[in-house]
Amino acid sequence: MSKDIKIKKGLDIKLVGEAEKSVEQAIISNFCTIRPEDFHSVIPKLVAKEGTTLKAGDVIFYDKSNEEVKFVSPVSGTVIEVLRGPKRRIDAVKIQADREQSYNDFGKFNMNSDAKTTKAHLLASGCWPFIKQRPYDVIANPEKSPKAIFISGYATAPLAADLDFVLQGKEAELQAAVSALSKLTEGQVHIGVGSRNSPLASMTDATIHNVSGPHPAGNVGTHINKIDPVNKGEVVWTVNAQDLVIIGELLMTGKLNAERVVALAGSSVKKPRYFKTRIGSEVATMVYDNGVEKDGNDRIISGNVLSGKQLKPDGSLGYYDNVISVIPEGDDYELFGWTKPVFNKISTSRALTFSWLTPKKKFALNTNTNGEHRAFVVTGSYEKVFPLDIYPMQILKACKYEDLDEMEALGMYEVAPEDFALTEFICVSKQPHQDIIRKGLDLMLKEIG
């Protein structure tokens, strides 16, 4: 039973600096940094204190509210620093990597094991954090069983890494991971693919859906809404396609190999291309060689330009990210910028903005907000880029005035912040939609759970 997903509402943001399809081995990063903030709502309980030596796959910390959920080191090395913020909150754990990597051996996994063993294996080996859940867009609660698992094999976000390309040749690992995951749900594993050439298109133990349309066609949130929306009390899980490879390799070899192919993209990059690197590696190992000017005024983002996280030049690749985007900062004034005709920026209106004349043009956008923050005024524009069966402005307002009943009624269980990236991008009032949704989800998680 395959159900194709075809959406019309949305917007493809075409940017300069798409990564060329060639993979380079990144310089091996001396340090690996794990930031608990990548795991939303997890309060870490530190296991590996400063000075501890770790193998790849050894536990660094676990989730205080659920000790089973362990977070392991992607590299072997020594913990050299635990950075703390206010109230001794752990901001980052910095590990100095060994030259020769050694791995904690979890053993080759018997693929015929039952659900309970599979779950225990994934939890013990630190693969669990790769599995996220909706509602709330947080790491999956292992005690609840999901009604379905969703995987998107189609990336439509601007400058996203081409999943067909980065997953090439990984069919065996993908299949192992998909088969293992399929045991953990009573329902099905749904995989959305952009084309029949996708390495994921031939997976068994899963339902394959052909996806087409503008961004956010590739977002897993769109697939959930179109195939099997989350109702109150239900849970679905989502896994990034690339993380399946890590899970699959662990199952097949017993080693946690946190290697990942990452796209370096954006208009500030001289030669945008792909790198083979590790989770938590310093971005400096990738962005400067044939990439960005060292003293340039650029923004480095771990993730895509819509939902990624801003990094300092000494920052490191986020736990879930497979793109590093670099775009120019826009911290300059523009004379009469609010009224003059605009040709070099994207716009969804035609108010003396002319991007509608050049639908195929690729733009080099910077980080300027192009206007100041205002109250919600314009109506009807979000709906044009928002394919979910939800009223976007109404749910945003419900989050702002913290009406839990209304948030629930309007479909808060179904959404994640990234679903509101496009509405935030086109927002004339420059409201922080993703942040509003995140805070709304946090409130619900706290009050309803």
């Binding site: 939902s307 004034y333 716009s347 205002r374 314009v378 004339v428 922080p432 939609h433 942040d435």
Partner: protein
């Protein structure tokens, strides 16, 4: 860079001053600010609220200029200085410097007072609440001079603007929070506080009121009258204008409301730029036509005779209603105000339809004030949240049903 960096330094130096919003309001008109995104989307579209509002103002400028010419034309025509212009919209007797200057000196003060008072209040509130000055008033300030009679005294306008901005908008929290359209709140205040200045046959022609006062003082002059078409119809009088005059706008009326041709072009421009809602404009026109047809039907089936006081307006051909009075202007520029209109697409259809429908109903049944579009829009402004509520409930119910099917 001289100006750019000195303004920037000035802003940085006075960051914590109370009056900074006043400076920023001007600063941001010169330069698009240097603000950058933080986490969230790192890029943003080119449009902001200033650009959106400015597009609406651009659409209004032709109406404003036409209004100036028309004010002079109506003045000279009533005073017997010129003959009726023949040849419609492009008549050379209409587009004269003489006409323009009369209108110019009457309309520009209206614009200045409207913006001066309104923006001053906006800036005061912005400073008090320490937020930036929001752009909503840019459109309101331009709408106000276009929807009042040409001879409206400036002090009256100032009082009305102060009332409208404070009570209509700021008490709710400013742009984006108001329930009633501020421009119409101002217009409604004027209408109910100073009715003699807002209707009748004297106020629509520049100088007519003054002439009346001179006659009252005992001077031997002819009275000037310039009845609007709706005014004539309400009194079952003969209308002395051709349909094309109504379309082109060479008729008495509020400053900017008369030229349906220019309003139609402005409406198309707003739809093309995706700033105005075509749903509201279209459904409002449909609503008006339906109500007009109903009245025409009532007349043709003989329920109403010529002796009725409603006969004049009821028997007006249904599509003429789109051309006369402020209907076109209200539909294109005020019913479409996104803050006070319905916010859902389905809701917009209902909201627009009812505005058109009720406009014509009030127009016909209210003998005191023949124009209904103002009251219809204000009424529907109040109902817009209710309409949206029921539209959104449709979505909520679908979700509930899905849940029930699952658990059943």
């Amino acid at each position: 860079m001289g100006l750019k960096s000195s303004l920037h330094n000035f802003k940085e130096k006075n960051k914590d001053k109370k009056w900074l919003p006043a400076f920023s309001a001007i600063h941001t008109f010169l330069f698009l600010p240097n603000e950058t995104t933080h986490n969230g989307t790192h890029i943003k579209v080119a449009d902001d609220l200033k650009r959106t509002m400015n597009t609406v103002i651009m659409a209004m400028v032709p109406c404003l200029i036409f209004g100036m010419f028309n004010a002079g034309y109506q003045h000279h025509l009533a005073f017997g200085d010129i003959q009726q212009a023949t040849g419609g919209f492009f008549s050379s007797a209409f587009w004269t410097m003489d006409n323009f200057m009369v209108g110019f000196w009457k309309v520009i003060p209206l614009v200045i007072v409207s913006y001066g008072v309104g923006l001053a209040i906006e800036i005061l509130f912005a400073m008090k609440n320490s937020h930036e000055v929001e752009e909503g008033y840019l459109v309101t300030g331009m709408l106000v001079p276009l929807i009042v009679p040409i001879d409206t005294p400036l002090w009256m306008l100032a009082v009305a603007v102060a009332f409208g901005v404070v009570i209509g908008k700021e008490v709710f929290g400013g742009t984006g929070m108001n329930i009633l359209n501020p421009a119409l709140t101002i217009r409604a205040f004027l209408f109910f506080a100073y009715p003699t200045w807002m209707s009748g046959d004297k106020v629509w022609v520049e100088g007519a009121v003054e002439r009346d006062q001179m006659i009252a003082a005992g001077e031997n002059l002819d009275a000037i009258s310039g009845e609007t078409i709706l005014g004539s119809l309400a009194q079952n009088k003969e209308v002395g204008y051709e349909v094309m005059d109504m379309f082109y706008g060479l008729i008495p009326g509020s400053v900017g409301e008369t030229s349906v041709l220019l309003i139609l072009l402005a409406g198309l421009f707003l739809i093309f730029t995706k700033i105005g809602s075509w749903r509201i404009m279209l459904s409002s026109a449909i609503g008006a036509l339906v109500m007009g047809l109903i009245f025409n039907g009532v007349v043709s089936s003989g329920w109403i005779t010529e002796s009725s006081k409603f006969y004049g307006l009821m028997s007006t051909e249904f599509w003429h209603h789109l051309l006369i009075g402020g209907f076109a202007f209200g539909t294109v520029f005020m019913a479409t105000d996104p803050v006070t209109a319905s916010q859902t697409n389905k809701g917009k259809w209902i909201y627009g339809f009812l505005i058109g429908f009720i406009s014509i109903m009030i127009r016909v049944f209210n003998p005191a004030y023949p124009e209904g579009v103002m009251l219809a829009i204000l009424l529907m402004n109040v109902f817009a949240p209710t309409i949206d509520h029921y539209v959104v409930q449709g979505n909520v119910k679908r979700r509930m049903k899905r849940l029930k099917v699952k658990t059943a």
